[in-house]
């Protein structure tokens, strides 16, 4: 009984083993994002934008290797916000589906969970979400913002605005912890005493921010205070509602959030958030020809979603009120960088693609990005002020910031 089921699975695998390149000019590419469970809130949009990008590339002739075009064929799996399942699905993609590359993961823990799988199978993963750094795998390319591309510029900006007191508020997991640890060291370097830094963590799914907001109010009473928030997407609603109701505004105590992008904004009370700040390497409001094309094409694609050149049936697309945001843009950047590298290497082989990826440049919606030797990007960083329509108004741009995953290097 048990072995029979194994056989069926094995049989399915056997038919799939027929190496992708040999099959009718398609190349299989994996999408590893949670479509159910707690993380589906954020990750579903990334799946959508990836499918859109595949369609975009296929429409313009696919990936060309040795003069031959290959259509990208997506393989979508649902790791269901379950970390061991992430590892299993990664294994399935690499060992059974034999995908050429995987785009996926949102939380650090999911990335940590699949990392050994990619190293063991010599796979290739593109990771698009801002994270705490302190990691470097030869099998992962981090298109995401590193701490020095998000937290440090934001704090620099706040210091420049004359802020002297910093309230570091975060959800209790690794990204906020690490970011805040780095920020504390950084603020100390900038001469802010420990007594003017407060560090508070709340559990996942925390809904009661009364006490914390009361303490922020006290903290901000002397003026020149700011909140640096690494709360994860879900808990921002109760926090900001409480914050606004307490009479705190962006005027008397601005909040810089690292986890609120336009996509999270859709579920947030815009009224309450107006004037607070975000810091990303992309905003939907960026004015560039590349960006207007990206936004326009994506919105059009959502209404009639398909992946040209494949039989993949796109379902579960929600076309209402959609936006683009930094993780989405970085997902798309990843696909294009991979495509260019494959074309340069003339092969889908991971080792060759990896070498070709270094130094690869691409002019995207937010300007040119360059893949560095440390598998992170050089990217433009923007600080934006939130508007009541759910968009960000860019108030400050840092050009060509090179990501550095290890904090000891940029803290010196």
């Amino acid at each position: 009984m048990k072995s029979m089921f194994g056989k069926i699975l094995g049989g399915v695998a056997a038919t799939m083993v027929a190496f992708s390149a040999a099959a009718a000019d398609t190349v299989k590419v994996g999408i590893l994002h949670s479509l159910s469970g707690t993380m589906a809130i954020s990750e579903t949009s990334l799946k959508d934008v990836l499918l859109f990008t595949f369609d975009e590339i296929n429409k313009s002739g696919g990936v060309k290797v040795g003069g031959k075009p290959y259509m990208i064929e997506p393989v979508v799996v649902d790791p269901a916000s379950n970390w061991p399942l992430f590892a299993e699905k990664a294994k399935q993609l690499l060992e059974q589906d034999k995908v050429a590359v995987v785009f996926g993961c949102w939380t650090s823990v999911s990335r940590k969970s699949v990392l050994p799988v990619f190293e063991q199978n010599n796979g290739l993963l593109f990771y698009p979400v801002q994270y705490e750094g302190e990691e470097l795998s030869k099998n992962i390319f981090y298109t995401a913002e590193a701490v020095n591309q998000q937290a440090i510029p934001a704090v620099d900006y706040m210091l420049g605005e004359g802020k002297k007191k910093f309230y570091l508020l975060g959800s209790d997991y690794v990204y906020p912890r690490t970011t805040n640890k780095i920020l504390k060291q950084y603020l100390k370097l900038k001469g802010i005493p420990d007594s003017d830094i407060e560090e508070i963590y709340t559990p996942f799914g925390h809904t009661d921010y009364q006490t914390i907001v009361a303490s922020i109010k006290k903290f901000a009473a002397g003026g020149k205070a700011t909140v640096i928030s690494t709360l994860n997407g879900d808990t921002n609603v109760p926090f900001f509602k409480e914050f606004a109701n307490a009479g705190l505004t962006s005027e008397n105590c601005p909040v810089v959030s690292f986890s609120i992008s336009e996509d999270e904004f859709r579920g947030l009370p815009a009224k309450e958030l107006q004037g607070h700040l975000g810091c990303w390497t992309y905003f939907m409001s960026i004015k560039s020809p590349e960006n207007s094309k990206f936004v326009k094409d994506f919105m059009a694609w959502l209404k009639a979603p398909k992946v040209t050149g494949t039989s993949y049936n796109v379902t579960g697309i929600d076309a209402k009120g959609r936006v683009t945001c930094s993780p989405m843009n970085l997902s798309r950047m990843g696909v294009y960088l991979w495509k260019q590298a494959v074309e340069k290497a003339g092969s889908f082989e991971v080792d060759k693609v990896r070498t070709a990826l270094i130094g690869q440049k691409f002019k995207g919606p937010a300007g040119e990005v360059t893949m560095q030797e440390n598998h992170h990007l050089v990217n433009n960083v923007f600080i934006g002020e939130t508007l009541p329509n759910g968009q960000f108004k860019i108030i400050k741009t840092f050009n060509g910031v090179a990501a550095e995953p290890f904090s000891e290097k940029f803290l010196k």
């Binding site: 479509l35 590892a87 059974q96 940590k112 190293e119 302190e134 690490t178």
Partner: protein, 394 residues
């Protein structure tokens, strides 16, 4: 000790064990990849995981199916076992981590080097886990102690039924929150991951995975035999009596609390051992493994397979998980409908699960023939009433 397996059962058991412990691994190791009979590394790895789940299901079932205690905390013990072994595996990484330090990566960035300077950054309670034997001992001792304390408190004040379920859920939830904290020294939300070696062997190679699969098979077999033996003894009889009517057992002079406590601790240990073997196979253990959802899932496996039997939970655990593995790939967007729908269906229409299906079909058929014969409505035989496991109101 009386013989607790009859001849036919022994034979079937031997054949199934042979298939799992010898044939499958051999098909993986020695049959060339192109052959139809080859079992892929992926399959071996995934089924190794399912076997651990089956152990967990047996633990849940010993408590629920045989003693009538529905615990929503068994995954806590599963995770505790996993953590105990995971700690050892973490220390085996050596200098191969991101920071190339002696201590695990998360301790480096949480600045344990200054916090626990006298031990070189390693919190004192981590020290003995360098020894695998200590870790294995802890796999058993820690969950047993937690279960003993909680069980002692709960059974002493005669908490039972729904109260026990909710209380065990609260315990799990509290523990889960505790482990989420980075200050708790167990890696916080990320948990323990990126293992490199187990018993000196590279943990990620197909050979190691194969041996882990075999080990899981052996574990499942021994746990099965243990449960089988236990339920066939007088102890097992009292166990079931407690399930069916605790008060009568109590009035007959048995200290039911002691029996329940023993079963609870035993079940915790079974779950923990399953968890310990699970961790090296999936390569990560983190607090969401002890969330209440996971415990509920384990209970559902038992229900699907058929509780109050020993085969049922194993079948349930393996088939539900295999279905999940398949559906999350084939129907990435709709699989929750399938799974949720299946749970409802099983609870409503298959009270004895997959194992009870043949008997149920037989009864249905008999009823159908009955009706044909008499040509009128038969006396309402409630086919959906589960055979055992419900407690009659005293």
């Amino acid at each position: 000790m009386t013989r607790f397996l009859n001849k036919k059962e022994s034979l079937i058991l031997a054949i199934v064990s042979f298939l799992i412990l010898v044939v499958l691994p051999c098909l993986n190791a020695f049959v060339p990849k192109e052959s139809f009979f080859h079992v892929s590394d992926f399959t071996i790895n995934v089924y190794g995981k399912y076997l651990c789940y089956a152990v967990l299901a047996l633990g849940v079932n010993l408590l629920w199916g045989y003693t009538g205690l529905l615990s929503l905390g068994q995954c806590l013990f599963f995770a505790l076992g996993g953590y105990a072994l995971g700690m050892h595996l973490m220390l085996m990484i050596g200098k191969l981590g991101q920071y190339q330090k002696d201590i695990p990566d998360f301790m480096v960035f949480l600045e344990f080097e200054t916090k626990y300077a006298e031990t070189g950054g390693l919190p004192p309670h981590w020290m003995p886990f360098r020894s695998i034997w200590f870790a294995v001992l802890m796999v058993i001792v820690v969950p047993a102690v937690v279960a003993y304390i909680f069980g002692f408190l709960a059974f002493r004040s005669r908490i039972k039924g729904v109260y026990f379920s909710i209380l065990s859920q609260a315990l799990t939830y509290a523990a889960c929150l505790m482990f989420f904290r980075n200050d708790f020294t167990f890696g916080g939300n990320n948990g323990l991951t990126d293992f490199k070696f187990i018993l000196g062997a590279d943990i990620n190679t197909p050979e190691t995975k194969r041996w882990l699969f075999i080990a899981s098979g052996v574990l499942l077999l021994s746990v099965y035999l243990l449960c089988r033996w236990l339920t066939s003894t007088k102890f097992g009889l009292i166990q079931r009596a407690i399930r069916d009517s605790e008060n009568r057992v109590l009035f007959s002079g048995y200290a039911t609390a002691h029996f329940k406590l023993f079963v609870f601790v035993l079940s915790a240990v079974i779950c923990a051992v399953g968890g310990a073997l699970y961790v090296p196979q999936v390569g990560i253990i983190n607090p969401s493994e002890m969330s209440t959802d996971k415990s509920l899932e384990a209970v559902v496996w038992c229900a699907v397979g058929g509780r109050s039997t020993l085969i049922g939970p194993m079948i349930g655990a393996i088939s539900v998980n295999a279905l999940k593995s398949w559906a999350t790939r084939a129907f990435a967007e709709q699989w929750l409908f399938m799974l949720g729908g299946m749970f409802i269906f099983v609870v409503l229409f298959m009270p004895n699960g997959i194992v009870g299906l043949p008997a149920q079909l037989k009864a249905l058929k008999a009823r159908y023939i009955d009706r044909k014969k008499s040509g009128e409505e038969p006396a309402p035989v409630d086919a959906t009433e589960p055979a055992p496991a419900t407690k009659s109101a005293d």
